[in-house]
C-alpha cells in the first residue's frame, strides 16, 4: 500500500509538472510514454479500489496531502481528486496540450497520422498517434451523426444514460451511501446547466436502459425518487418528451407514470380558455404544453397502462361535475379534455 500511495503522489506531481512547468521542455518520447504509463497506473488503481471504502479513504487522504503541498508551491494549481483518477490519462493530455512548453516534437508524435501499431517503446506503451486517433474517432461520429437511425433519443443521449446508470449502480452498491448517489446526481445536474434539455434526454435514456438485474432496478428507483423531488425538472421533462417516449417510460416505470399523470392534471387545472385562439392555453410561466399536446400525452399514458384510463376518466368526470357538468366547449377544461380523449 505504501508503494501505491507513493506512486499516486508522484503521478499527481507529474501532472502538475505537465500542466505548468517549463521542465516540460526537456521531455522526450521516453518521458512522454512513461508519463502516460503512470497515468494508466492510476486509472487501474482507481478501478481496483474505488469500491473499498477503507482504501479509498487512505488514498483520498494522500491526495489531500499532495494537493496541499502543490497548492502551496505552485500558484494557480488545479487539484486532482480521487474521482478524477479514472480519467488520469485524459487529464494528462489536456495539461500537456495546454502547456506552451510542450516540445513540438512531442506534439508531432501525438498527432502522427500513420496508423499506430501498439508497440512497446522500451518498457512503455507507444503513445504515437494518440491525438490523431481521437480526432479521427470524433470525425467518424460527426460524419455518421446526421443519419437517421432507430433511436428516439440519439446515440449520445443513450450512451450518456448508460454512463449515468453505471455510476449510479456502483454508488448504490457500496451500501447505505445514498448521500453520495444524491451528490452525484446533483453534480451532474449542475454540470448540465445551460443544457437542461439534453439532461432530460439523458434521464429518459437512463430510465430506459434494460439490464433486468436487481442493481439496475434499485438504481432506477433511486433515480425516480430523486426526480420526483425535483418538481420543476419533472415538469420540464414532461414538456419535452414526445408521446412515444413518454409511453415507453410510463410502461417501464409506474412511479413515473403516476408522477407525469399528476403533472398533466396540474397543467390542465392551470389552463384558461382563450377566446382569440379558440383554445385552452397555459398562462403560467415555466415549461408547458399546448392543449393538443396535453391530450396526446394523456393518450400515451393510457396506451402504456390501460387501467389508468378508467381511473383518470372517473377523476375527470368528477371534476367536470364540480364545474357544473355542462357540455359546452370552453367552459370547463375537464369537459373538453374528456371529449378530446373520447371518454
Amino acid at each position: 500500500m505504501e508503494a501505491v500511495l507513493k506512486n499516486l503522489a508522484s503521478t499527481v506531481e507529474m501532472l502538475a509538472v505537465a500542466a505548468q512547468s517549463d521542465a516540460l521542455n526537456h521531455w522526450d518520447k521516453q518521458t512522454l510514454s512513461r508519463a502516460f504509463h503512470w497515468a494508466r497506473y492510476c486509472e487501474h488503481v482507481f478501478s481496483k479500489f474505488h469500491n473499498n471504502a477503507a482504501i479509498r479513504r487512505i488514498m483520498e487522504k494522500q491526495l489531500q496531502l499532495t494537493n496541499q503541498t502543490l497548492r502551496d508551491t505552485i500558484p494557480g494549481y488545479t487539484e486532482v481528486s480521487f474521482s478524477d483518477l479514472p480519467r488520469c490519462q485524459h487529464l494528462l493530455l489536456v495539461r500537456l496540450l495546454n502547456n506552451p512548453e510542450l516540445p513540438s516534437s512531442l506534439m508531432k508524435i501525438l498527432f502522427d497520422t500513420t496508423r499506430p501499431v501498439k508497440t512497446m517503446h522500451g518498457d512503455y506503451e507507444d503513445v504515437t498517434g494518440l491525438c490523431s486517433h481521437i480526432v479521427q474517432c470524433k470525425s467518424v461520429y460527426k460524419v455518421l451523426s446526421p443519419l437517421a437511425d432507430m433511436s428516439a433519443l440519439g446515440a449520445d443521449a443513450e450512451v450518456q444514460g448508460e454512463m449515468l446508470m453505471e455510476r449510479l449502480e456502483a454508488l448504490l452498491n457500496q451500501g447505505s451511501e445514498t448521500c453520495r448517489a444524491e451528490q452525484f446526481l446533483g453534480s451532474v445536474l449542475q454540470g448540465c446547466e445551460g443544457a437542461l434539455q439534453q439532461f432530460c434526454l439523458v434521464i429518459a435514456a437512463a430510465l430506459l436502459t434494460s439490464k433486468n438485474c436487481t442493481a439496475q432496478t434499485a438504481a432506477h428507483d433511486f433515480l425516480l425518487d430523486w426526480l420526483q423531488k425535483k418538481h420543476s425538472l419533472l415538469q420540464y421533462m414532461c414538456s419535452l418528451l414526445s408521446p412515444t417516449l413518454l409511453k415507453d417510460l410510463a410502461k417501464e416505470h409506474q412511479k413515473l407514470r403516476d408522477a407525469s399523470c399528476n403533472v398533466l392534471k396540474k397543467w390542465a387545472s392551470e389552463m384558461e380558455y382563450s377566446l382569440s385562439d379558440g383554445e385552452w392555453v397555459l398562462t403560467s410561466t415555466g415549461p408547458g404544453v399546448s392543449f393538443k399536446k396535453l391530450t396526446e400525452l394523456f393518450l400515451a399514458l393510457f396506451d402504456a397502462s390501460p387501467s389508468l384510463r378508467g381511473d383518470v376518466e372517473k377523476e375527470l368526470n368528477a371534476l367536470k361535475i364540480s364545474d357544473g357538468d355542462f357540455d359546452v366547449t370552453g367552459l370547463s377544461v375537464w369537459g373538453d379534455l374528456l371529449s378530446a380523449l373520447n371518454m
Partner: protein, 558 residues
C-alpha cells in the same frame, strides 16, 4: 546586383504553382462547407476530396520550401484561415491522408524559434487549434457526465461512435418495407451508403459496411450508391481496407467494376510470376473468386466473359489458358461444396457452350474408368471436328458458326484436363490410330486458323510426332547426336517458318518421357531436348513442365 536579376526571373515565373484564384476557391469552399451540414454539402465535399488532397499536397510543398513562417504568411496570407476552417471539417479530418496533409501544413507554419510577434502568435494559434481538436467537448452534458462518472473522453467518443454504428446497423438490418406513401425504405440505406464514402477505410465503420454489402437485395431500388462501391473498390485494391469473405463477394456482386479489378489483378499476379500448378491453384483459390462464382451465377458469367475477351486477343498464351483451366477446376470444386443448397443446373453456368459437349467435357477423367478414355476422346474429337466443319461449310463470314466454334474451344480450354489425357494417350498409342488425339491437340493450340491452315498444322504435327516416336521407339540408345539435333530443329524456329507450337512439342516430349517405357538414359535425352526448347517457352510453361518432369522422373527412378 543587376546581374542577379535575370537569374531571379525564372524563379518568379515558377512561383504561381498556387495562385490566388485557387486559394480563394478553396477558401470559399471551406466557408460554404462549414456553414451547412446538409446532404448536398456532404456530396460536394466528397466530390472535391481528391482535388483538395492534391491542393493540400502542393500547399505543403510550397510551405516547406519557404524559409520562415513570416515569409509564408506574406506569400500565402489566407493560409491560416483556410487551414483553420478545414481542421473543423470532419470529412477532411476523418481520412488519414488528408488529415496528415493538413497537420503537415500546420507544422510547416510552426517556428521552432519564433523571431517575431507574428511567428509567436502563429505558434500559439497552432497549439490552440490542436488542443481544441483533440480535447474540446462541444457538448456541455457530455462533459459534465464524463467528469462526474470518471469516463475518459477517448472512451466516451468510442462508445458513442459504436452506439451510432449499432443503431445504423439495426436500420440496415431491417428488410425493405413499403410505407404508406409508397416510398421504399431503401432510400435511407442509400443515404447511409453515401455517408460511408469518406469512412470506408475506418475500422470502426467496417461492420456497418459489411452489413450494407450483405443486405439481401429485396426490391428494385438500388440500395447502394455507386460512388460508395467505387470507393470501396479503390480502397480495397490499394490494400487500405480489410473485408471479410462474404462482404467481398457481395461487393463483387454489386459492382462490376470491382469484380473486373479483382479478375485482372488475379491475372496479373499469376501471369507475371512463374508458378507451379500447385501454387497456381492455391493462388486462384485464395483469390476467393471461384467461391464467389459458385455462390452467384452472374459473377461466373462475368468472369468468363473477361477470360473470353483476353483469349480472343491472345489465344496462344499458355499461361492464360492454364489459368482458365485451373479457375474452372476450382470453381467446380466450390460448386460441388455448395451443391446441396443450390438447385441451379450446370447449364446455367455455361449458357453459351454447346450443350452436347457440356457434360462430356466437364466430367473429369478420374470420374470414368481409364479404359473408357480412348472412346470418350474419340467422340469428343469427332464432335469438335464436326462443329468446325459446320463452320467452314457455312459462308466464310458467318458469325454464328464462328461463335459456336469459339465457344466449343473455350469450353475445351476450361476443361483442358482432356487435352492432357489426349497427349498421354497419343504417346502410349503404339500402333493404334492417334489421329483424333492429334487433331484435338491442334485444335486446342490453334482454334481459329482457317481449315487449310488447320490441315497443314495437322500435317506438321503428324510429322513431328512420327519423328519423336521413331526416335524413341528405336532400339539404339543413347541416340546419335545428329538425331538429337534433328529434334532440336523441330522446335527451334527456322528463319522461313514459324516455330511449330513449341509447347505442344514439348508436351509430347514430356509425356513420352513419362508414359513410355523408356530406359533412364532415354528420359535424360528427352530432358536434354526439352531444355533446348526452353528458350522458346514462356517462363510459366517452363516451370510447369519442369515440375511435371521432375515429379514423374522421381517417381520413375524410385
Amino acid at each position: 546586383m543587376s546581374e542577379q536579376q535575370p537569374l531571379s526571373q525564372p524563379l518568379q515565373t515558377e512561383e504561381p504553382l498556387l495562385n490566388d484564384q485557387e486559394m480563394q476557391f478553396w477558401l470559399d469552399k471551406a466557408v460554404a462547407w462549414g456553414q451547412a451540414d446538409s446532404p448536398d454539402t456532404q456530396k460536394d465535399t466528397c466530390l472535391h476530396m481528391s482535388r483538395l488532397r492534391d491542393f493540400l499536397h502542393q500547399l505543403l510543398t510550397q510551405v516547406n520550401s519557404m524559409s520562415s513562417t513570416t515569409e509564408t504568411m506574406k506569400r500565402l496570407p489566407f493560409l491560416g484561415q483556410l487551414l483553420g476552417r478545414l481542421c473543423w471539417n470532419p470529412y477532411i479530418t476523418v481520412c488519414d491522408t488528408s488529415r496528415g496533409l493538413l497537420l503537415g501544413c500546420l507544422w510547416g507554419l510552426y517556428s521552432e524559434r519564433p523571431s517575431n510577434a507574428v511567428e509567436k502568435k502563429a505558434n500559439q494559434w497552432i497549439r490552440k487549434v490542436l488542443c481544441q481538436l483533440s480535447t474540446e467537448e462541444d457538448e456541455t452534458a457530455a462533459q459534465a457526465l464524463m467528469k462526474c462518472t470518471g469516463v475518459p473522453a477517448k472512451e466516451y467518443h468510442l462508445k458513442v461512435l459504436r452506439k451510432k454504428v449499432a443503431l445504423l446497423q439495426e436500420n440496415v438490418g431491417q428488410s425493405c418495407t413499403l410505407f404508406n406513401s409508397q416510398r421504399c425504405s431503401c432510400d435511407r440505406i442509400v443515404d447511409i451508403s453515401k455517408a460511408c464514402i469518406p469512412i470506408v477505410t475506418c475500422p470502426e465503420a467496417s461492420s456497418l459496411i459489411s452489413l450494407l454489402l450483405q443486405r439481401p437485395v429485396a426490391c428494385v431500388t438500388e440500395a447502394l450508391s455507386e460512388d460508395f462501391l467505387n470507393a470501396l473498390t479503390s480502397a480495397y485494391s490499394r490494400q487500405g481496407l480489410a473485408l471479410e469473405e462474404q462482404a467481398l463477394v457481395s461487393l463483387w456482386y454489386h459492382s462490376f467494376y470491382s469484380l473486373e479489378e479483382a479478375v485482372l489483378s488475379l491475372l496479373q499476379s499469376v501471369i507475371t510470376t512463374g508458378l507451379t500448378p500447385q501454387k497456381l491453384e492455391q493462388q486462384v483459390a485464395q483469390s476467393l473468386l471461384p467461391k464467389a462464382c459458385a455462390q452467384h451465377c452472374s459473377i461466373f458469367l462475368v468472369v468468363n466473359d473477361i477470360f473470353r475477351s483476353i483469349l480472343k486477343q491472345a489465344e496462344g498464351n499458355e499461361s492464360v489458358k492454364t489459368l482458365v483451366q485451373t479457375f474452372t477446376k476450382c470453381f467446380l470444386r466450390e460448386l460441388a461444396l455448395l451443391k446441396p443448397q443450390t438447385s441451379i443446373s450446370v447449364k446455367a453456368f455455361f449458357p453459351q457452350s454447346p450443350s452436347s459437349l457440356l457434360v462430356p467435357l466437364l466430367t473429369m477423367p478420374s470420374e470414368m474408368p481409364q479404359g473408357a478414355w480412348r472412346n470418350h476422346l474419340n467422340w469428343l474429337s469427332s464432335s469438335l471436328q464436326r462443329l468446325t466443319e459446320e463452320e467452314e461449310e457455312g459462308d466464310g463470314r458467318s458469325t454464328r458458326g464462328h461463335h459456336n466454334v469459339f465457344e466449343a474451344w473455350f469450353l475445351l480450354v476450361q476443361c483442358a484436363h482432356w487435352v492432357q489425357v489426349a497427349v498421354q494417350l497419343l504417346v502410349t498409342s503404339g500402333t493404334e490410330d492417334g489421329d483424333p488425339f492429334l487433331w484435338l491437340l491442334i485444335f486446342y493450340h490453334y482454334p481459329t486458323k482457317r481449315w487449310h491452315h488447320r490441315a497443314s498444322q495437322l500435317a506438321r504435327a503428324k510429322e513431328a510426332w512420327n519423328h519423336i516416336r521413331t526416335l524413341f521407339s528405336g532400339a539404339a540408345h543413347p541416340l546419335p547426336s545428329d538425331r538429337l539435333q534433328s529434334l532440336g530443329t523441330l522446335v527451334s524456329p527456322q528463319p522461313e517458318q514459324q516455330s511449330f507450337a513449341p509447347s505442344l512439342t514439348v508436351s509430347l516430349l514430356v509425356n513420352v518421357a513419362v508414359f513410355c517405357q523408356l530406359p533412364p538414359s532415354g528420359s535424360a535425352e528427352v530432358l536434354q531436348a526439352v531444355r533446348k526448347t526452353v528458350s522458346l517457352l514462356s517462363f510459366s510453361d517452363y516451370c510447369s513442365i519442369q515440375f511435371l518432369l521432375n515429379a514423374k522422373l522421381s517417381m520413375h527412378n524410385a
